[in-house]
Amino acid sequence: MKTNKLNEQAEGDDMTSAETAGGSGPDKAAPLLEVRDLQVEFKVRDNVTKAVNGVSYSVDAGETLAVLGESGSGKSVTAQAIMGILDSPPGRISGGEIYFQGQEILSMPENERRRLRGAKMAMIFQDALSSLNPVLSVGFQLGEMFRAHRGMSRKDAKAKAIELMDRVRIPAAKQRVGDYPHEFSGGMRQRIMIAMALALEPDLIIADEPTTALDVTVQAQVMDLLAELQREYNMGLILITHDLGVVADVADKIAVMYAGRIVETAPVHEIYKRPAHPYTEGLLASIPRLDQKGQELYAIKGLPPNLQNIPSGCAFNPRCARAEDVCRTDIPVLSQVTERDGTELVGRGSACHFWKETIHG
């Protein structure tokens, strides 16, 4: 009951802030977050590593976007650029725009940007143990959110911390509020990270591989909790993962990244049925399946490209069975995917010269 009251209060706050900012501020018709043609590079001495090469995606309130890709595909770097926590130098945003609630945030001064973090957008990291400060109790760290952003007293902040721990279903929250991160199990720690990200009821949550460090059974619990809280608060969620299994249950739409580009976008269920990019096809084929017991697992041949020296044309061409000459010269653009008869498939795009052959076989 306490929490309900808290929610009402917070909703009230949100409305007032939207009203006050009304004039120049957030455009309600625009998506919650829109990334346009983002480019990020890392420069170490004379080596330029192009981590993100023109990524565009958008998330609405209450929507879950899963960004899928292997290590080095640029999915985390994109997230860091959105949050404004890119290590710079060596990282540098070399192009593109990011709109959050209608406002371009890359051009914002750092202190305004900082006020967005935690309050309006928050991030959940992969490894909760290393993402929590080992020398402070979890209650203190949760309370810090309220003390830093809302100027609450130590006592009130502690009460809030207990409330949050209850909210993410940590048993005996009142007793455990003074415990240190190493005294919690992995799943409980990740719940605390979630609680911390949700503390100020942000509009956007970015979860960077939130369940990768957890046991499979706990993964599902944590994912469910995250999805449930997201629905409850109507937040936009960007779920960064390399695990296709995690995605299916919670995501609304999916963006597959390869070598710093989005190669395919689709509503989540369609991608499993009919992938429109050979890379996605390969990813799906590599999932172990119960009905193929005893057979060798499929693996996409070759290695992910060296980002200092991305292959010309389509970055995936050296590993692709469909590759032809055009793939080695022309970079494919993300184009609308259609049915055989030309009807557009809503929300589907593929950056493959041969997407028709891929999806329609």
Partner: protein
Amino acid sequence: MTELVTGKEGPAAAGPTAEQQGAEPTVVRVSQWSDIRARFFANKLAVLGLFILVVLVIVAVFAPLLAPFDPLKQDLANTLQAPGGDHLLGTDSLGRDQLSRLIYGSRIAMIVGMASILVACTIGIVLGALAGYFGRLIDSVIMRVADVFFAFPLLIGAIVVILLMGRGVLPVVLSLGIFSWATFARLLRSQILSVREMDYVHAARALGASQFRTIRRHILPNSLTAVLVYATSNVGIAIVAEASLSYLGVGVPPEVAEWGNMIAAGRDFMGVKDFMWMYPSLAIVVTALGFVLLGNGLRDALDPKLR
């Protein structure tokens, strides 16, 4: 304090929930501090160091009660008496009681030793934190200044400052502090360079912590252990340096009951009245040893991985 409260409530309340949850076993709660304390007291040398220092602090605090004579009172009828009788450790060339001077000397040693390290620590922590966190130009400037201070041997540097300021306790404290901060700054800087790349620092940023808060709450507390350990060990070295300055005649004024002064007074009677320099020397060695043992004990207790 929080740990104590949870410790009390823990067993009663954690029981049923643990059953409900099934997955979470009841945790025997050991706070970090009790862990550290246990490791410290299991270390015999560390306890010896602590014991030495506790005795020294008691001696220094209660010097007027413990000393049998006024340390400054001259008794020209009883000069250079050998240990024994009324004067347990003998008298010096002016008939002052050696034991009383030794007892009072512990005050200067403790005060100057700790205060000078406090000065060094403060300067070193502020500058080291700035250099480590902000890097680039600030880092280069601070570290080059630190290099300059490194270039001076501690005693030579201190003598220069004392020549400018005059003799006394304060100049000794400041001069030793000014020429010891560079190590603290370097040490803290290197710690910060590694801690600031930790995930929880990034996480704090991602949740909107300001730079100042990130430094104060997350980076410093996780970087200071090494500095604390180094500071403790270094109080001993500062005490040796302070005694050296007094021995050389640039520390505290010669009439003051101070160990370096006592050794200097005994220098002229070396080989004849060895008790005059032996006891203060022993006091210095034991005190320095006490701090080094305590420092090592703290290091092992705070970070068992380093052992």
